[in-house]
Amino acid sequence: MIGADIVFALSLRRPEALVFLVLAVPIALAYLVDPIRRRSREPFLFLWASLAAPRPWLGRLRRAGELALLLAALTLLVLAVADPGGAVLRAPARFVLLAVVPPAPGAPAGGAAASVLAGAVGRRLESVGPTDGVCVVVACAEAPRVLVPPRRGPVGEEALAALDENEGPADRTALAGLVARLAERPGGAEVHWIDPAPPAGLPATWHVHAVGAAAPSPDIAIVLARLADGALVAEATNRGPLVWRGVLRLRGQAAVRTVAALAIEPGASRRIPVELEPGETGEICVEAAATLEDWPLARASHFVPPRGRVRVLVVARGGRAPLLEILLAQLADRVDPAGSGVADSADAAALRRLERAGDPYDLAIFLEPPDPELPVAVPVLVFGGAGPLGRPREGEPARAGGVATWQRRHPLLSWVDFSPVVAEGIAPVAPAAGVEVLAEGPVGPMLLYRPGPPPRAAFPFRLERSNLALEWAFTTLLSNLIRVWGGERPELGPCAVGAPFPVPAPAGPVRVGRHGEGDVLWQGEAGEGFPFRPRRAGRFAAVTGSAVLEACFNPGGVDPAWAPPAARAAAAPVAEERGAADWRSAAALAVWIALGVLLLEWALYHRGVR
């Protein structure tokens, strides 16, 4: 943070506890009245005087100290009960260097970019504390202009005036050299490079702000979340120093369309409801971009489940699949029996009903490979061959065998145990490009999978020529298929406070942290259990290496108490969660100990005078 003043902000979660401060009045009165009660008539005063030297001034000071200690203890106790949100004492930045590169006068939208840049510089200057040193260096066509401020106000005006006076292309090399020399001062400097098109190779310790141009910016973040009532919202947060103006667009299986045009203040968030087309389902994506046609600056994805339970169509020869019907009946909580059915593989009219996803079926199971030309838009599970997921290996006969290995962490194979499964007539296939092999046997792939769209999975053997249907693995697999393909994301399940949490990322390294904060709480591969055990419910974000997926997996929907980090810092800066809690606990313990000591001392030495 640039130019942070010394800030001490305190917020109370239970301010009504401050009422207990009125106890200070009777305590103070008791101490004022008490000396009268403590006066004793003593005929043998000369004997007492010979025992102890009188120290009246010290005695008075000690009483005042006792009263102060008691009042301080009361204050701390009340504060502990009031549950302060936390306090942050930010150290002042010693020296702030603003390196400003104004846009070239002839650049496209140069005037607008210059005004945006001027606003950025102005806000940076406003945020510099009164005790901080600040220096503004403006790149010009010739030598950079250095503005050392005696006071902040005039310097801001000078900097803005310098932007207007720029006549030619800025010399970034000269600017970088000068800033680097200025930064080599005792105590270091906090360098902010404000540039419409920042060059590569700037020192990593510098804060680079690409403002005033339509370059990809890390300052905008999007979170897609499904609320408790099922509504879908997109929340865009501006983490940058400037007002962000752009659009949110929805990209799904339907055409790309605009969600909203936004203008978000720095540090603020906007929450926009995402309206889907009737019956729209599957993976959707909301992107933030400067315009509807620009490259996305940020993106968030979400899987929209179909309405209600899954409707499954089983396609079998003769329209009979009693075993599958029994198995699907066991999944009554996920399968809609009224909307599901069994069709003959020769029934062209029935098969044409699979051309549209979700209308009327959400999932199709083919007990024998379908016609490759058959248009199918719903997720499909195929038995008896790979179909489009692979091609037969010529010259190799079908063989029998079991499943040797399988991807245990894949969502489709969660809790699936293929070890007892054996089959015969396994067709040797070579997987096509982009197809994953989820299970493999001695003769080759046993389960092929393509994420889609539409997702497909294929067993290269017939169901009736294996014991798969008799094993729990098949029921579990069907359950996973219906759950995942049907719209449920297992990673979006409930997350209790203190419980491990699965990370919703398909593959690759994942970083998990509190939403909107930079700290990484957990880092690992997707599919691993989430080892972080949060002390309270809240929003967490999982970010993949591609920076595309930023998911919010808050089990109860969007936390209504959540606020953007900048706003939260301004209202009640929250210290590190665990540290703040420990601080409160320690303070409360200290207060109780102090009160106990005072009460004990009172009971021993301050009893009433006879």
Partner: protein, 297 residues
């Protein structure tokens, strides 16, 4: 039949009727021990006239009166050396710190005064410090059994709780005054030098001083613990102190040593010393204590 005396019960007065003040030293320093004579005519101080009776010593016949009046009168003289009893009654504020101290001081004073009157002493009660009103009213003058009731009322009327130090009060009271052969100081003796100066002052008057020291049982349970402001009721001095259990124990040890010192100084100066606990009434036990202390016999 004993005369009525509010401070003493009839039973106690009957007991006292058989006792007398023990005097073991005369004014001139000779060892004594006998009850001083109550008969008139043997003294040097003129007391009164009475009609001449056969057998009277003709040396005391008032010839002037006979010449002027024509009737014989005999001059009566009192033996003032052995016949005066002085009661110095401490009524300073320390004596008022415990009501029991005050009542015991009245009782023992009444007891001694009663015995004195019954045995022919001229009894004077001197409050310490002096009260102008009291001094004018009756200081120095009770004599005879008929004055018992009046003296008792006088003692009852003494007001305690005067904020004044004891030694200056004694010095003021005895200045220019001739004390009786039997002089009693009734006091708690809350004095920094354990009554040393007071006893020496009394001894300087060539009397037979006796100290009836009263002590309050409350002194054994001193001020409560904690930070206290102690106030000396006589001098008005204050002391801010933190009373701890250890300090209380030290104080009680000092108090015991103080009383021991008083007893030791009394013996060294030839002062009879009797200690009476506050709250003790004039009864057989008090009489026994006074007899054991050599005050009565």
């Amino acid at each position: 039949m004993s005369p009525r005396f509010a401070l003493l019960s009839p039973e106690c007065m009957r007991l006292l009727d058989r006792l007398e003040i023990a005097v073991w030293e005369t004014r001139r320093g000779r060892p004594g021990g006998s009850l001083p004579s109550t008969s008139l005519g043997l003294g040097t101080r003129f007391e009164e006239h009475r009609r001449y009776a056969p057998g009277d010593d003709l040396r005391y016949l008032d010839w002037n009166a006979l010449g002027r009046l024509g009737e014989p009168f005999t001059k009566q003289f009192a033996r003032e050396e052995a016949g005066r009893l002085t009661l110095l009654l401490d009524r300073t504020a320390s004596m008022a710190s415990d009501p029991a101290l005050e009542s015991t001081a009245r009782s023992v004073s009444a007891l001694l005064a009663y015995v004195g009157l019954r045995t022919g002493y001229h009894v004077e009660v001197i409050p310490l410090p002096l009260s102008e009103e009291r001094e004018h009213h009756g200081l120095g003058g009770f004599f005879g059994s008929g004055a018992v009731g009046e003296l008792g009322a006088w003692i009852e009327g003494v007001e305690f709780g005067v904020p004044a130090p004891l030694f200056p009060a004694v010095r003021q009271a005895v200045a220019g005054r001739e004390l009786g052969a039997a002089t009693f100081l009734v006091s708690d003796l809350a004095d920094p030098d354990a009554g040393e100066r007071i006893l020496r002052l009394l001894r300087a008057h060539r009397c037979q001083p006796a100290l009836v020291q009263l002590f309050s049982p409350l002194a054994r349970d001193p001020v409560p613990l904690g930070h206290r402001e102690l106030l000396d009721p006589e001098t008005g001095g204050t002391l801010r102190i933190r009373v701890t259990p250890r300090l209380r124990r030290a104080f009680l040890e000092r108090l015991a040593r103080f009383h021991e010192r008083v007893r030791h100084r009394c013996r060294a100066l030839g002062v009879r010393h009797v200690r009476l606990a506050a709250g003790q009434v004039a009864d057989r036990a008090m009489v026994r204590r006074l007899r054991e202390g050599g005050v009565l016999r």
